[in-house]
């Protein structure tokens, strides 16, 4: 089926994804939710349990909604009187993680590319290798080795090794595709889960929840700040994962802002990169790059420390692949800043761009989509709560 066929079909007929979640994964969530809904002790922890209480039966769409609402903080596992070795064997975080991973593939657009999720680590590695090879190759093909290995200083220096039109055209094409793919994925998610638009105030709620990761560890009498974070290593809660996640997210957003400002400079003002050390794009990019490096490195460490009981290893290493490529994007960006006045600029630029292009290419088929569906779930949850109030 071609891309346009698939697009037409999705647009025309709505989505029937009932059979698309892994039946074992969604069945386990359904089994566990029936137990949790008769207990409800965890209702103070996060948005998952109030959302569960608003339902008695759990369709695959509900399973996907709850799974994407779950932040895998582990609080409910350590609190659970029915966790193994109890015969009910309730493990909410792991069952949700399995269903969540399955939902990413279910909503992937175009459908055939859903397979990219199944061996994600390998796919990501291959795409990075190809991206790097192509970028370096392209540059070498377009310009002479003298220029590639030359020292370039001043406005337009980067474009001595790769013309701006090409440097910008590649990501523009990739980004346009990634955005289309993610919009389609979001659409499928929204229809499948039966989410309902709850107005702009719900958007505010969802943004606030994301901005502070407020659903980690529970809203207490001390307010959500009393939540205490994730139960990463054991039954004690820690804010380490929350902090590293937020460094990653804000670091990424700052880098994105840096690129956007740079684009504006180039097209609106005709100012060509590289920009001065105290210019807005460089400051945003440097700060963003540093905290993105720290955040991703921290997340990798926290992932290793995670209690095996609540850790779900995605088939094919999707989580690690995503964190590593984010780290490499930011690290090579910082490296480029460091070596941009030397003869290593050409090679470093090529490597950095290779990572950047690869990142955007795999975006719709990587862990990146967790942000998309988590936000959609938070939005739906905020809408539901507001309607009940």
């Amino acid at each position: 089926m071609s891309l346009t066929d698939e697009l037409d079909q999705t647009m025309a007929s709505g989505v029937d994804l009932r059979a698309m979640l892994d039946p074992a994964a969604s069945g386990e969530v359904r089994r566990i939710m029936q137990i949790c809904n008769a207990c409800r002790y965890c209702e103070g922890f996060c948005a998952v349990f109030p959302a569960m209480e608003r339902r008695r039966l759990f369709t695959d769409g509900d399973v996907s909604y709850l799974a994407n609402l779950c932040h895998n903080c582990g609080a409910c596992y350590h609190a659970c009187q029915y966790a193994p070795p109890h015969e009910f064997a309730v493990n909410v975080p792991v069952s949700m993680a399995a269903a969540r991973a399955s939902s990413y593939a279910a909503y992937a657009w175009p459908g055939p590319l859903a397979h990219l999720f199944h061996r994600n680590g390998m796919v990501v590695s291959i795409i990075i290798a190809l991206g790097l090879g192509l970028t370096v190759g392209l540059m070498l093909a377009m310009i002479s080795p003298d220029l590639f290995w030359g020292v370039h200083i001043g406005a337009g220096a980067f474009y001595q090794v790769m013309p701006h039109t090409i440097m910008a055209a590649i990501p523009l094409g990739i980004t346009a595709f990634a955005i289309l793919a993610m919009v389609m994925g979001w659409r499928r998610y929204w229809q499948h889960t039966g989410a309902v638009w709850g107005g702009w105030r719900s958007v505010g709620d969802a943004v606030a929840a994301v901005a502070a990761m407020r659903h980690l560890g529970g809203e207490t009498a001390a307010g959500w700040r009393g939540g205490g974070g994730c139960h990463t290593a054991d039954d004690r809660s820690s804010n380490a994962r929350r902090i590293y996640h937020q460094l990653t997210m804000y670091g990424f957003l700052l880098c994105f802002a840096s690129t956007s400002v740079g684009t504006l400079y180039h097209y609106a003002f005709g100012w060509e990169a590289p920009y001065g050390l105290l210019s807005l794009p460089v400051i945003l990019g440097t700060v963003g790059g540093v905290i993105l490096c720290v955040g991703t490195a921290g997340l990798l460490v926290e992932k290793r420390r995670m209690n095996p009981a609540v850790r779900y290893e995605t088939a094919g290493g999707m989580d690690n692949a995503f964190i590593v490529i984010l780290f490499l994007v930011s690290f090579t960006g910082l490296l480029l800043l460091a070596v941009r006045s030397t003869s290593m600029m050409g090679l470093t630029l090529a490597i950095h761009l290779g990572f950047v292009y690869s990142f955007f290419l795999i975006m719709p088929y990587s862990k990146f989509v967790h942000g998309l569906y988590r936000f959609a779930a938070l939005l739906a949850s905020a809408s539901e709560s507001r309607r009940i109030q």
Binding site: N37, G44, F45, C76, Q81, E219, A221, A222
Partner: protein, 468 residues
Amino acid sequence: MCHAAISEPVWDVIVIGGGNAGVCAAIAAAERDCSVLVIEAAPADMRGGNTRHTRNLRAMHDAPTDVLTDRYSFEEYWDDLMRVTKGVTNNDLAELTLRGSAALTAWLGARGVRFQAALSGTLNLGRTNAFFLGGGRAMLNALCRHAETVGVQFIYDAEVDDVQLTDGFCEGIVVNWNDRRLTLSCKQLVTAAGGFEANLDWLAEGWGDAAKNFLVRGTPYNKGKILRSLLDHGAKPVGALDQCHAVAIDARAPKYDGGIASRLDAVPFAVVLNKDADRFYDEGEDFWPKRYAIWGRLVAGQPDQIAYAIIDSQGVNRFMPSVFTPIVDDTIEGLAEQLGLPPDATRSTIDAYNAACPAGQIDQSILDGKSTKGLTPEKTNWSAPISTPPFYGYPLRPGITFTYMGVAVNERAQILMADGRPFANMFAAGEIMAGNILGQGYLAGIGMTIGGVFGRIAGEEAARVLNR
């Protein structure tokens, strides 16, 4: 999890039982510089007795707090307790419990226990009860963490075999741990080892053969071994053998450890039949939170200790979903057959009930007075015909949470001998002495209050005897 070797030749305080009461006692003693060992019968994953199944504690307060709304005065709390126990209580110890409850949430909060914000809670108990964030197991995890930071040592999977007494003075205990039989010496002993609800033979002494059909909602580790040992050593018993917290739960629940999820809230909107398809009690007598605790005894009084709640498609969504899917059929006879009820008798009981129902819609938000006319017994509220298929059925059994018979204590939590004098160095807290306060009936959340208040007292008094 702390599995340190047992390091002390003589412990200042040994606590038997690692639930709420035991850990509160351990903390209170360790904070007064006592060396403390907690001996828990369950493996670490299943530790804490019935604390893991609890959700809240009941606390008096004269003004709103961060975890409790409005006001719950001593007088109101006292009246509530007198109503459920019908006065079968030790007034001094009851007053001590209620007054001690006022400081309990702050004391626990300062030791890492987190409470839900005051306004939430599904049972509308936010005024009288403080809810642990994540329930009793999360509460206990926090408490054990704190206990470890103040130096308390824990051993798990360790069953105390005997308490060694010489002339009424406890020298130590014998414990089976790690395939070894150890004798441990202590200066003070706190027994917080729970009741005997998981000991069906002992239950049978109070309930007869009916006990074998009971399901035990609580922990399977409360076999009453320590209680038996104390009584054998001359401790004064308190409470009747058959008094307990028992509710009607889904008969398909596990034999042990089913906890809260085995609860079934269908009764007020159902008709409940015994195995002969006869009704035996007014299902709509009062709101369910005020009546659920009597239904364990009601079902226990029926032949074979089994009953069946039958409801139709109009009623099935009126109560909280339960963990077991109801048995469903398009006809009453078919449902009866599936449940193992006599189909014709079931049909005629339902027909008679339907004919006695008043006209009009029921209103579950109030005592709506929609009573049947001419039945024995009547159903006095929420009587709606069971007539819209499909029909649903839930089997019910008595589910026992904890027993009340225990050892008598004084206001210092010292265990009393048969003649009323206290043992010099033995204390009790929690279920093992709850019968001093709960002679009968139950008040939601008071079990944890008794455990917390007397756990603290036991730990503090044990330390005080040692001049700490």
